[in-house]
């Protein structure tokens, strides 16, 4: 076994090893220090130079090389100058067990590369979701990392990264895997229409396409659904936290709902008599805002439905989506065509129904028979941000707080986790961290991580494209992973796709 270094000093959590000459220890690398009865899994969190020569002599020699062009060399260079690595304890591994480290490795113990055999404690859970392969520094190991889907998704997941670090790639890999396995319902609100793959490789190419339901209002491809939501599905509560109305406007809206029930939107627009006095201006503002938000026109006492909200179609859309999710399918809703508020309103409508259904199942005692449902939210601070939540909770913050009791979770994608309140971040049990340059954002994630990442700020900043760290209550340690490239990952599945024998019985040829 290749020796990479020797333990020379430090303290618990800050073990210093000297790197063997010719070896290249990397930030984030996993190493093993072997004792007589056990092994300790260590991880590099910092690198520094070490030398037997004093600083003033090093400076003198470098000056001579630079200014005098001399080629003065040290004798036994490898012995005098070297690299040091700072390591933290991860786990103690015995023959049949693994547990949090509570002891130091032996002084001068040899430190070597981690092998697949050392990692046999990483097993495949029930109803797994594949995230990527374990990574040691920049090296990808032949160890697949699966998370227990039901636990992970019901206890919320966050995907945090700066632009271009592979968030969408990871989400695509994750969704592809979920479509294959069909044990977790995932609702994807897709503001960039990037997952289905209308014009390029995407989820549409999945061999189990029946487990993918795609809704779009923009020229939906054959076999996908036109996003139409019946206007009668809208309730005043759906606007909470996604569209702001003043207190007076809210009161008027609630009065309309009480009086006209599911026909309340039409009643507002037609300014039907409410029997209660509200300021004329208040009703006019609500009417104007509803017309704009719901993409309606009103003239000659007639309402014209121009967009996704309709009177004659979409009566079962929300229920259909819930049913598909309950069947463990992935439902992608293309919201790229809508302005922000409309997109969030649609998300709120669906999510509210999902949550209420699952609450109902819990009351009936049927909840455990249902698959976990996760709601994938892009740019999560739009609904979970501190500013938004100052004006009151919304369905997404409610799910963040209490969703896990009802097997409904969030999968929040963001570049700016610091905008999400600490309590909500702390409720997100699994965090998949990709490269983040901004230290405030790194800190927000580190402060709320399931494992101690206090020494990993630098490692997080240096994560390359496709590299991630998973911190979760459901992993034994904060796992460094390499997420496969979506196009590479799906290749095998697509090649395996069987060609169907078509039979057009009943058609006259």
């Amino acid at each position: 076994m290749e020796i990479k270094g020797l333990v020379i000093s430090g303290k618990f959590g800050e073990i210093i090893i000297r790197e063997k000459a010719g070896e290249k220890i990397e930030l984030g690398e996993l190493l093993i220090a072997e004792n007589k009865t056990s092994k300790i899994l260590l991880q590099v969190y910092d690198l520094l130079f070490g030398s037997q020569i004093s600083q003033s002599n090093l400076e003198l020699i470098s000056g001579m090389r630079l200014e005098e062009n001399t080629s003065m060399k040290f004798m036994d260079k490898n012995l005098r100058n070297y690299n040091l690595a700072m390591l933290k304890n991860i786990l103690t591994l015995t023959k049949n067990n693994s547990y949090s480290s509570k002891s130091l490795p032996d002084f001068f113990s040899k430190v070597r590369e981690v092998t697949k055999k050392d990692l046999k404690f990483i097993t495949k859970p029930k109803n797994p979701v594949y995230i990527g392969n374990l990574r040691s520094g920049s090296k990808t190991l032949d160890v697949k990392i699966y998370l227990p889907s039901a636990k992970v998704f019901s206890h919320h997941v966050s995907l945090t990264a700066a632009t271009g670090r592979g968030k969408s790639n990871l989400a695509s890999v994750l969704l592809w895997d979920m479509i294959k396995k069909n044990h977790t319902g995932i609702l994807v609100l897709d503001p960039h229409d990037e997952y289905y793959g209308r014009h390029s490789l995407g989820l549409k190419d999945h061999p189990n396409k029946k487990n993918l339901i795609y809704y779009s209002s923009n020229n939906p491809p054959a076999g996908t659904r036109t996003l139409k939501i019946n206007i009668k599905s809208i309730r005043p509560g759906h606007f909470n936290g996604v569209y702001e109305f003043s207190t007076a406007q809210k009161e008027a809206i609630n009065s309309y709902y009480r009086r006209f029930k599911e026909n309340w939107v039409e009643a507002v627009i037609k300014e039907r008599d409410l029997g209660v006095n509200f300021h004329e201006g208040t009703i006019s503002v609500i009417k104007r805002r509803l017309l704009s938000l719901l993409d309606l026109d009103f003239f000659d006492e007639k309402i014209y439905y121009k967009g996704v909200f309709d009177k004659n179609s979409g009566e079962t859309t929300i229920k259909d989506i819930c049913n598909e999710l309950e069947s463990g399918r992935v439902v992608v809703v293309d919201t790229s065509n809508f302005p922000g508020a409309q997109e969030l309103l649609i998300g709120s409508l669906i999510t509210t129904q999902v949550f209420h259904r699952y609450k109902h199942y819990k009351n009936k005692g049927d909840l455990l028979e249902k698959p976990v449902i996760s709601i994938l939210l892009e740019e999560a601070p739009r609904v979970l941000g501190k500013e938004v939540l100052e004006s009151g909770p919304n369905i997404f913050s409610t799910i963040a707080r209490e969703g896990r009791k009802f097997r409904v979770g969030l999968c929040a994608i963001t570049q700016l986790p610091s905008l999400i309140p600490r309590q909500i971040l702390a409720n997100i049990n699994t965090k998949i961290i990709m490269g983040i340059e901004m230290s405030a954002e790194r800190q927000a994630i580190i402060d709320s991580a399931a494992q101690d990442l206090s020494s990993d700020s630098r490692a997080i900043a240096s994560l390359d494209k496709g590299e991630a760290i998973i911190t979760s209550n459901f992993t034994k340690f904060a796992m460094p992973v390499k997420i496969p490239l979506f196009s590479e990952y799906v290749k095998k599945d697509i090649e395996k796709k069987n060609k169907e024998n078509l039979n057009f019985s009943g058609i006259k040829f």
């Binding site: 020229n219 939906p220 491809p221 054959a222 996908t224 659904r225 179609s313 078509l502 057009f504 040829f509």
Partner: protein, 405 residues
């Protein structure tokens, strides 16, 4: 251009002969009104018959009517629906087409593993008509998945697409669980989409799809439909405008009684109070009683007397629905399965408690119930006398129970 769009006639659809005849009466009316309106052609979007091989007497009446319309030189274009389609190809629609009484527009070829549908051109108007069959359990979905829509969309002219499927985006709330396909499976840019299968009246346009029309049945097909629709109907299309044309074959009177906390006597009285001052000439009367009776059984409601009163008041037909009527004397049994075996298993699991027979535990009780049910299910053998059959069944049961007869 003027045409009629009919669907879901379900000729022969009701079990009772009186109601069965109403389906054909409604069909006759739809054709007569179309002739009267001088339409250029008639579309029937599936389920003309309730089965692929209908009763001869009903078939005779349909043939007579089609011959009549044929004489008027009004072509009838049809597609097979989930009821009158036959996977073996044995459907009466083929016979009607062979006899020149209608034209099945679902014709095509397979090109590069894709189904390429062909248009049937209406000689008089030049309208180009094509369509897709409907199959049970939405099996036509596979056809749509492999449909070459490009050639259909590129064709110029006035185009009609006939289909017999539920469309996901247009399903009404009460049919939430119905199998359906998205609208996007239909080729875009047609002038009229003549739908069938879903018994609703709907005329909707969506982006890329103008005039998606469901005319509903010509006569309601079951108790709930009668309650909801009361009458059937069909659509007329005339130079870009669509209109629904209702068909009234009988009057319908619905009475809904909430039985919660009431006795059978109170319900009797409530119904009698509702009907005593009314006449029911040529009327179908629907009685739906739902809820949980305070005392007594559902059979304690005196339907005989009520029926007699209604028929004396010239009602055409009286029907009751007590599906959602419960009584406190029996516990509800929840059944979520559709297969007979599963229903039996559920009932056994719910009712067996291991305490019914002293020497049997729960496992044995369940096993014995299943075995007894199997032995009671034995068929009478050919040539076997009834008493011999009874004796054989008894012996089988005695053997199982280990008792002497």
């Amino acid at each position: 251009m003027k045409f009629a769009h009919i669907a879901d006639c379900h000729v022969g659809g009701w079990r009772d002969p009186k109601l069965k005849n109403l389906t054909i009466d409604a069909f006759d009316k739809a054709i007569d009104q179309s002739i009267e309106k001088q339409v250029d052609f008639i579309l029937i979007s599936g389920d003309l018959f309730n089965s692929s091989i209908p009763d001869v007497s009903l078939l005779k009446r349909v043939v007579k009517k089609l011959k009549h319309v044929n004489k008027k030189q009004i072509p009838v274009y049809i597609i097979a629906g989930s009821h009158d389609f036959s996977p073996s190809g044995k459907t009466m629609l083929d016979v009607l087409e062979e006899a020149g009484l209608c034209i099945n527009v679902v014709k095509g070829e397979v090109v590069e593993n894709k189904l390429r549908l062909k248009f049937t051109v209406d000689e008089k108007t030049g309208a180009k008509i094509t369509g897709m069959i409907g199959k049970k359990g939405m099996l036509e979905k596979k056809f749509y998945e492999n449909l070459d829509t490009k050639n259909l969309e590129q064709e110029a002219g006035f185009k009609i697409f006939m289909f017999h499927s539920a469309l996901t985006e247009l399903k009404p709330k009460e049919l939430e669980k119905m199998d359906s396909s998205p609208v996007s499976y239909l080729p875009k840019g047609f002038n009229y989409y003549a739908g069938g299968h879903v018994h609703i009246v709907k005329d909707v346009s969506l982006e890329g799809y103008k005039n998606i029309v469901y005319p509903g049945p010509v006569f309601p097909n079951n108790f709930s439909e009668l309650e909801k629709l009361e009458k059937g109907g069909f659509f007329f299309y005339e130079d870009g405008k669509t209109s629904f044309n209702p068909i009234q074959v009988k009057n319908v009177f619905s009475l809904r009684i909430n039985a919660n906390n009431k006795t059978p006597e109170q319900i009797n009285q409530e119904i009698i109070d509702e009907i005593k001052n009314k006449e029911f000439i040529d009327t179908i009367v629907l009685l739906r009683i739902l809820g949980k009776l305070e005392t007594g059984k559902t059979t304690d409601i005196d339907f005989k007397r009520i029926y007699s009163m209604l028929y004396n008041k010239s009602a055409f037909f009286v029907m009751k629905n007590t599906y959602s009527l419960k009584t406190k004397e029996f516990d509800d049994i929840k059944i979520m399965h559709s297969e007979i075996d599963e229903i039996e298993d559920t009932l056994i699991d719910e009712q067996a408690n291991g305490e019914n027979i002293e020497s049997w535990d729960l496992k044995k009780e369940k096993s014995m119930i299943r075995q007894l049910m199997t032995s009671f299910n034995l068929d009478k053998k050919e040539g076997e006398k009834v008493y011999e059959y009874q004796e054989r069944i008894l012996k089988e049961a005695a053997k199982l129970l280990d008792i002497e007869l």
